[in-house]
């Protein structure tokens, strides 16, 4: 009976060791049950160590060792399954065997069996889908108790001579059962604690990330601008509590919030370090001893460290940055740095998504417009009225008009593709104009003068036709006097402009109706197809002139010219 306190004492040392180990990453795999072989292997390794340790921490007693080896074996089985359990048991067992004594064989066998018992319980609970029972103290207690009883039985059966074995068992059974069961339960509670701390930690972490993600959804749909940036920095600031946050595009600071707001203003050009992050497309950490952040605006600025992360769009092109600051003498904590990476990633994907959605909307709008044009009733009925009247007087002309009408509608139907050549677009326009000219007779005069070299340039479908339709529908057809429509190309340093003018001068900007929308779509599609500089330019002199034009950039022009040569 004097063995009980000493063995419990040994068990305590053993547990202190387990506790220390639990503070290291080595313990991480134990926090989850998994069937991956890496997990199994680390279970084997850790518990084998504990199993062997159990033998060393044991107490020599009459040529045998009273020990806490069973904890390692049973736990190995519980965490790793029967194979790992058996392997741990055998490893501990073989090690024990070489330590000698009359129970060497019996101990080797019993330790392996104990590992197996743990493993079998693992399988049983897994099958019953009650794997959480593994962490319950009662379960650990009972299984270890059972394993220990089995061990005692094996010693009685295997160890020779029987009398000595019997004496041994009567003496060590109670101390060992006590030490091992209590030890196993405590060991498990160490793991359990570790697990709950880790879970709490990662829950807050992911909750915060999720909250940011949730709150920032959709804000960047319209792209990165002052308004969206300000909303985003506010959200991130509220959720992370970092000292200060700035979001920039590639030229200016769009938004700033936090410490130093008074002198860190939005809409000022970006600093050189942000420029560096953009140019090199990488994270810049102004948090190292060599490279610290120093506010250039105000010497007394409390901000002392910063990290700059590039925001990228789909083509991995940097569209802006997010910069997180922390006050001097307060290093950015690790959470916030990895969080910042996550946020940058999140914002980047939202920018990409926004861009994608915009494209999608444009496409849908274009399709709608196209659909609308396909069955434009005004145009159709007006055309039919004209043709009906012309038929009587000039059947030949009527025939030509019908051909143009069918050509116009055929092209409408066909033009669901993204881009067409200027030649095709002009022929579509021509069909349209022929009919409108017949309808409006002397009220519409048209002149077309486009450089033939431009004819093969591709431009978005339905670019020119809406401009001309607009000029007639809302311009010339409202005039009492004769209308003049001109379509021409005009060389500039940047490329060639395609210009449509009418002498009605009735264009009203920002008019919230279908025409405004039509031009808006044309504008967006031009910008998408070429670039920002190809946007629609509209100038009006009231009651005199409306001029709508867009740029075919030099790149588009030269590309076509070279392909022409190759052809």
């Amino acid at each position: 009976m004097e063995l009980i306190p000493s063995l419990l004492q040994q068990m305590c040392v053993y547990l202190v060791f387990a506790y220390l180990l639990s503070k290291t990453p080595i313990f991480m795999p134990l926090l989850n049950i998994s069937s991956r072989w890496e997990h199994k292997f680390s279970c084997y390794l850790i518990f084998s160590i504990f199993c062997i340790m159990g033998s060393y921490f044991g107490l020599q007693y009459e040529d045998a060792i009273a020990n806490t080896r069973a904890i390692g074996a049973v736990m190995g089985g519980l965490f790793g399954g029967p194979i790992v359990g058996l392997a741990v048991g055998m490893t501990g067992g073989i090690h024990r065997y070489f330590m000698g004594g009359f129970t060497d064989v019996a101990c080797a066998i019993s330790t392996s069996v104990e590992g197996l018992i743990g493993g079998l319980l693992h399988v049983y609970l897994l099958r019953k889908n009650k794997i959480n029972y593994l962490f319950k103290p009662q379960v650990i207690f009972l299984i270890t108790l059972f394993a220990e009883l089995t061990q005692m039985a094996i010693i009685l059966v295997v160890a020779e001579p029987y009398q000595q074995a019997y004496d041994l068992v009567t003496t060590v059974a109670i101390p060992m059962i006590l030490a091992n069961t209590i030890g196993a339960v405590l060991f498990m509670s160490i793991i359990e604690d570790r697990k709950s701390i880790y879970e709490k930690y990662s829950t807050t972490f992911s909750q915060r990330a999720l909250r940011i993600a949730d709150r920032s959804v959709g804000i960047l749909n319209q792209g990165l601008n002052t308004e969206s940036a300000q909303t985003i920095v506010r959200i991130i600031h509220e959720e992370t509590n970092v000292g200060a946050i700035a979001i920039t595009d590639t030229k200016n600071i769009l938004a700033f919030i936090g410490i130093g707001e008074q002198h860190h203003h939005a809409n000022v050009p970006i600093s050189s370090s942000i420029q560096q992050a953009i140019d090199e497309n990488r994270i810049i950490d102004l948090n190292t001893t060599a490279d610290t952040y120093q506010c250039k605006v105000n010497r007394r600025c409390r901000l002392g460290t910063a990290i700059i992360l590039p925001l990228r769009n789909g083509d991995n092109k940097v569209v802006g940055t997010i910069k997180l600051y922390e006050a001097r003498r307060k290093l950015l904590s690790n959470i916030n740095v990895s969080m910042a990476e996550g946020i940058a990633q999140l914002l980047s994907s939202q920018i990409l998504l926004g861009h994608y959605q915009q494209q999608q909307t444009l496409l849908t709008q274009a399709e709608l417009k196209l659909l609308h044009a396909q069955v434009n009733p005004h145009f159709l009925f007006n055309a039919l009225t004209t043709i009906s009247a012309v038929t009587r007087r000039e059947p030949e002309k009527a025939r030509i008009l019908i051909q143009h009408l069918s050509q116009f509608f055929r092209k409408n139907l066909k033009q669901n593709i993204e881009s067409v050549s200027l030649r095709e677009e002009l022929s579509h326009v021509n069909a349209y104009l022929t009919i409108e000219q017949a309808r409006l007779t002397n009220r519409l005069r048209v002149s077309v003068d486009i450089d033939p070299a431009l004819m093969d340039i591709k431009l978005p479908t339905f670019t020119l036709q809406p401009l001309i339709e607009n000029a007639i529908k809302h311009g010339i057809s409202t005039m009492l006097s004769a209308g003049k429509l001109e379509i021409y190309s005009h060389k500039t340093t940047e490329g060639t402009r395609i210009v449509v003018t009418d002498n009605a001068g009735t264009f009203v900007k920002n008019k919230e109706e279908s025409t405004g929308l039509g031009l808006k779509i044309v504008d967006k599609r031009l910008v998408n197809h070429f670039n920002e500089r190809s946007s629609l330019q509209i100038t009006t002199t009231k009651n005199k002139l409306t001029q709508v034009s867009f740029l075919l950039p030099t790149t588009a022009t030269t590309n076509t010219l070279t392909t022409n040569k190759e052809n």
Partner: protein, 237 residues
Amino acid sequence: MLNAIVIDDEQYAREELIELLHETKQVQVIQQAENAIEGLQLINKYKPDIIFLDIQMPQITGIEMLSMLNTDTMPKVVFSTAYDQYAVKAFEENAFDYLLKPVDPARLQKTVERLVKSTQQPNYDVITLTHLEHVPCIGHNRILIIATKDIEFAHSGLSGVYINTGQQEATSQLTLKILEEKTPMIRCHRQYLVNLKAIKEIQLLDNGLAEIMTNSGQTLPVSRRYLKRLKQNLGIL
């Protein structure tokens, strides 16, 4: 034989309708107009029995033009449109005659027969406008569309009604009666309407007469009969 004027801004549409009407042998097209302003002139001049009126026309629509006609001298109207569901609905509801372009000769025949038989004059008030936003005028060799709010006063003279903006004066086909009904101008004299906002001062004369000085410095007579109402309108009585 009914006399008709065809008003449509599209030449081919006019010609077609005139041709089809000719074939009915019951309607004689005496004139044609390519816009509402011309139409107004011709109606006033020729007093036709019927007008064939297109809805969509430049500057002044068919409905607007109709709003500019005196109800007592109003001809019968056959509306025509190529595609205007909203207008067609209004015509249907009020049982007004209308034609859809391109015109179906059989349908036209029916319409004409109805016109010949009917003695009743439909009331177009339901579709006409109660307020005119602008007034078409004829200046020196040109057509002016004057915004109602820019008019200082209107008066009738020997050769018709004059619209005066302070800067210019032009003749209009609209009668003072219509202008009084459908613009914010009020009558100050049998021959004068004045825009209250254009009044700079009113000088009271002896024997109950008065004179209005407009913002542009022109004087208008105020007759005894209208002085009281004018004062009421200005809230000084």
